[in-house]
Symmetry: C2
Subunit: 272 residues, 2 copies
């Protein structure tokens, strides 16, 4: 379990201390934090609490949303928060179409330009920006970056220390090019984090919440995990699940379940 990390969104209603306690209690050595609960508990206090508990902070979620007004200041703040938490990477969700627009090509250009503006600040702070491709069903409202290949097309324009990508099984497993694009991401040193959760069916009434524990859905974690290993990624592997039933379960039970599913469906494929 040395590489496993519990992303705080999996226990969405937990405060930072509650999330840390659940993570430690399940024997998990790292945690992925979210900005809202960190702000609520305090940035310095959150950093100290993770450190005192002996946890690595594997990432901070999330910034981006480049098609919304005020994105620049918010993203610069998020870079500083990531550095203060000692996390290596800040996850970026691109944002959807601007209000009233149907221009995906233009929105995608704005995302590239925005990341170009942020890259120097990320480099200076020692933080890697992780561009997260979201499943194409979220293209209009949440992320105009829809494939790993598209995320890499953007990331590869910048210093690899400043801009990488998220490899998230839920968002990219469907892609006929996924294995080739994972290899490409490794070759250009761009895999900043590997996130795992399953694709449940049928799609939940709120499509954001259609994720599940590894093994409950349709994702072949073996082929994806082997590809990530072959690509040279040796960092933390986060479990991030948005699922109402899981959110309604007590934190210790959820943390233990993620660890068990991680061992069976992911860790088993880390070594040859």
């Amino acid at each position: 379990m040395s590489r496993f990390s519990l992303n705080q969104a999996t226990i969405k209603y937990a405060t930072v201390p509650e999330a840390i306690a659940a993570t430690v209690g399940a024997g998990i050595p790292a945690i992925g934090l979210w900005r809202e609960p960190v702000a609520e508990f305090g940035l310095e206090a959150s950093a100290a609490a993770a450190r005192d508990a002996g946890l690595r902070v594997s990432s901070l979620c999330r910034a981006g949303f480049f098609t919304k007004p005020g994105w620049r200041d918010d993203n610069l703040r998020a870079i500083e928060e990531t550095a203060a938490l000692g996390a290596p990477t800040l996850v970026l969700v691109a944002g959807g179409l601007p209000e009233g627009s149907r221009d995906l090509v233009g929105a995608r250009e704005r995302v590239r330009d925005a990341i170009g503006e942020l890259a120097p600040a990320a480099l200076a702070a020692g933080v890697t920006l992780s561009i997260e491709a979201l499943h194409p069903m979220y293209v209009t409202d949440r992320a105009v970056v829809s494939t790993l290949g598209q995320a890499l097309d953007i990331a590869e324009q910048f210093d690899a220390r400043a801009v990488g990508v998220v490899v998230d099984t839920f968002h990219i497993f469907w892609d006929p090019a996924v294995l080739a694009q994972i290899a490409r991401a490794g070759a250009s040193g761009r895999i900043a984090t590997y996130q795992v959760c399953d694709w449940n069916m049928p799609i939940a009434a709120d499509p954001l919440l259609s994720r599940g524990y590894m093994g409950d859905g349709f994702i072949d974690f073996e082929s994806l995990t082997r590809a990530v290993v072959a690509a040279g990624y040796d960092g933390d592997i986060e479990c991030e699940i948005f699922n109402q039933a899981i959110w309604d379960t007590d934190y210790a039970t959820v943390a233990a379940a993620t660890a068990e599913r991680y061992r069976e469906h992911v860790e088993a494929h880390l070594a040859d």
Copy 2:
């Protein structure tokens, strides 16, 4: 309106004679038929009814589902039905993962092999098989063919008279590569039909029914239609909408609405 066709699924509950009457009543010169209502009214009777009404039959929907047992005989029958109706093309939906499987790579190989088995029969019957890429949200349960590029990777292995692709705005508008892939489809003579409907948000509780009239959602019909025109496609353009509220509306009203939206959002971009 000379290139417009009403796909019968837009008025799902109509019998073949009712669908033909609605189409003619709205001044639409072509119709896309579905196998179930055709079987109910009779194959020869359906062909005669369309002919007597002066309608072209622009396509037959649908066959495929290659991961299900019995696919071969069903597809061979569908090819014969397409020929009997005088339609140029049979739309193929690939089917999802086989029961209990998570092997997308294997399922995709089976689709390619199945189409290879069917191509000679299609050629002999004078019918083009149209491979339809479905939106990636349907990858596990309905179609392991998820992008236009992937459909072309399969189609281009066979005679262009036997195997082409569907360009369907709902399924492919999100794709960062969509304009390049439409151009590619034109260059290799593979666009067998162009289908239009909009992407409504939020996604319907049944994600199959999240389509809308052109102009109601988020699709930029101008860029897609111009790309299809530039690619050299000069055939019929079908409006195919799965939407419960539209299905619950009387057929004449729906047919007239599709024609009006087609003129405004699609036909306006057919000529330079």
